[in-house]
């Protein structure tokens, strides 16, 4: 525990939780009125505008890690650490043109797994589904655990209670409002976080001059200012690749691309990246300012809140509590909604169809809602024992998501890649990336995963080129039993239905 225990007593924490919890759930119910169909519930009617689109990209990418880990990165890896964290925004920039293309290629699409399955068949679809679910579940569980721990650190609310409340609030408003509630609350949360961080950073600058901060670092911790800091430079590239892999593969981002109005996705992700870029720098600045402010840090992961509370006192502690709660909710709700889409659309729906039941629109909505509750329950059960090692499981996902980068890019833009190339690239990239993670270190996991995957993918595409017809993706997804009757000979590995060929060729 730290200074927060005295500054923010549990009853204030409970009041803040109650106020924001009730507000988010009420907004979820209110926006839920718009979600009258499955399409409305899962992809917000595919008509989200630029304001909501950009804000949801920013809010989702601001996790509790961004506000808590960025100061720690700066405190331990210096200026490069701060910049390394900021490179995660490059993933949003890179996804901007992809979002436009995804929306154009699949105007009726719902999930990333649906794309991989229809583009590559089972070879690409199954490994990708496993990686997506693993990543989404570990991220969700780690966020729930972070919620419990942070609320305990900030306001002495017991871990079990804090974690349960955060998760329950997010499950409730996502359940009632679907994607409308997630995107709507994301807007409010992103504005609160940005304004909160600006207030804290300006307060730091009012208390201490930049020259003092630089001088203090130069004397006490010169490594933090070093331009040649090998570990920090490795972290920079690893973080950037992890960010690319996370964003390119995760249904959290794909579902938003499907939800945004045509021609909005690209602009929204570009603007989202620009707005997100300064957040880790501002948060990291708190870590760099700590030595100049004479603040002793016993727990590096709490340096941000400690600095804010030191300077702003009671108000600062409340502000940090709100920022952290918003950061948690904005990520947990997105994960719940996007992963529930995966479960409903890519697992439950094909299963019930195989069993001979074609659910109505409302039936599909119920499936998606049920998946939200199920995910919340699973996350709660796994997070409840507070096994600290579980949080580190998320880092295993680095090599896995790194290995998805090339199959996704290749599948979106080129006709030549086939299912075999995608499947083997993901399997070998994940396997060797994990080996590097354990044998060498966390900072090379994503690098090796992406490099091996790229080599395998490129080699197989070069050796066995295919000719995929992108027009297939524009058609509504084939129902169970509507399997390909006439798969093209060259299209090895695609299980997608044979649909009319559009003479207009895309890619290559």
């Amino acid at each position: 525990m730290n200074e927060f225990q005295a500054l923010l007593p549990p009853h204030i924490g409970y009041v803040l939780l109650a106020v924001f919890g009730i507000a988010w759930v009420a907004l979820g119910v209110w926006w839920g009125r718009l979600a009258t169909s499955y399409e409305g519930y899962t992809v917000a009617g595919r008509n989200v505008g630029l304001a909501m689109g950009a804000a949801t990209a920013v809010a989702t990418w601001i996790t509790s890690n961004t506000t808590m880990l960025a100061p720690q990165f700066a405190l331990e890896l210096g200026v490069w650490g701060m910049l390394a964290y900021a490179t995660a925004s490059f993933g949003l920039f890179a996804f901007a043109p992809m979002a436009t293309r995804i929306r154009r290629l699949m105007p009726n699409g719902f999930t990333a797994v649906e794309f991989m399955r229809r583009r590559y068949g089972a070879w690409g679809g199954i490994p990708f589904l496993i990686i997506s679910l693993f990543y989404a579940l570990t991220w969700l569980i780690s966020m729930a655990m972070a919620g419990g721990k942070l609320l305990e650190v900030l306001s002495s609310i017991p871990y079990e209670q804090g974690m349960t409340v955060v998760l329950t609030v997010c499950v409730l408003y996502t359940l009632f409002g679907g994607m409308y509630a997630v995107i709507g609350t994301d807007f409010i949360q992103s504005v609160i976080i940005m304004i909160g961080l600006i207030v804290v950073a300006v307060t730091v600058l009012l208390h201490v001059d930049m020259g003092q901060i630089h001088g203090s670092l130069s004397q006490q911790r010169p490594m933090l200012l070093s331009i040649l800091f090998p570990a920090a430079l490795m972290a920079l590239f690893n973080n950037m690749l992890f960010g690319f892999g996370e964003i390119f593969h995760s249904n959290v981002w794909w579902s938003r691309a499907f939800a945004m109005r045509e021609n909005v996705g690209g602009k929204a992700y570009l603007l989202g990246g620009l707005l997100w870029l300064p957040i880790p720098i501002l948060a990291g600045f708190l870590g760099l300012a700590a030595p100049a402010l004479g603040i002793g840090i016993s727990q590096p992961d709490t340096v941000g809140p400690v600095v804010a509370a030191h300077l702003l006192g009671f108000g600062g502690a409340i502000l940090v509590f709100i920022i952290v709660f918003c950061s948690l909710a904005s990520s947990i709700d997105s994960l719940l909604a996007a992963t529930a889409d995966l479960l409903a659309h890519d697992v439950a729906l094909p299963t019930v169809r195989r069993l001979g039941w074609e659910p109505s629109d409302m039936g599909k909505r119920w499936l998606a809602g049920g998946a939200v509750v199920l995910l919340g329950l699973v996350a709660w059960i796994v997070a409840l024992p507070n096994i600290s090692d579980l949080a580190t499981v998320l880092f295993f996902a680095g090599p896995l998501v790194g290995s998805c980068i090339w199959p996704i890019l290749g599948g979106l833009y080129f006709r030549r890649p086939g299912g075999l190339a995608a499947g083997l690239a993901m399997l070998l990239g994940s396997g060797l990336g994990l080996l590097a993670y354990f044998q060498i270190g966390w900072y090379v996991g994503s690098l090796v995963g992406a490099a091996v995957s790229g080599l395998v993918f490129g080699s197989i595409v070069w050796l066995f080129p295919q000719r995929y017809d992108f027009a297939r993706l524009r058609q509504p997804p084939p129902r169970a039993g509507q399997r390909a009757t006439q798969a093209p000979a060259a299209d090895v590995g695609t299980g997608a239905g044979q649909l009319p060929v559009n003479p207009r060729q895309e890619g290559e």
Partner: protein, 40 residues
């Protein structure tokens, strides 16, 4: 070799400026989309 003070200053003030403009832009876009009934 270390990062000079001016770099740190520009980095932090740049981030502050970008964040402030970002928050204002988001609110302005909200108003614009809301007026045009194009929020969603």
């Amino acid at each position: 070799m270390e990062f000079p003070e001016w770099f740190l200053r520009w980095l932090v003030f740049g981030a502050l400026g970008l964040s402030s403009c970002g928050a204002i832009t988001l609110l302005w876009l909200l108003l614009r989309d809301s007026k045009a009934k194009k929020l969603w």
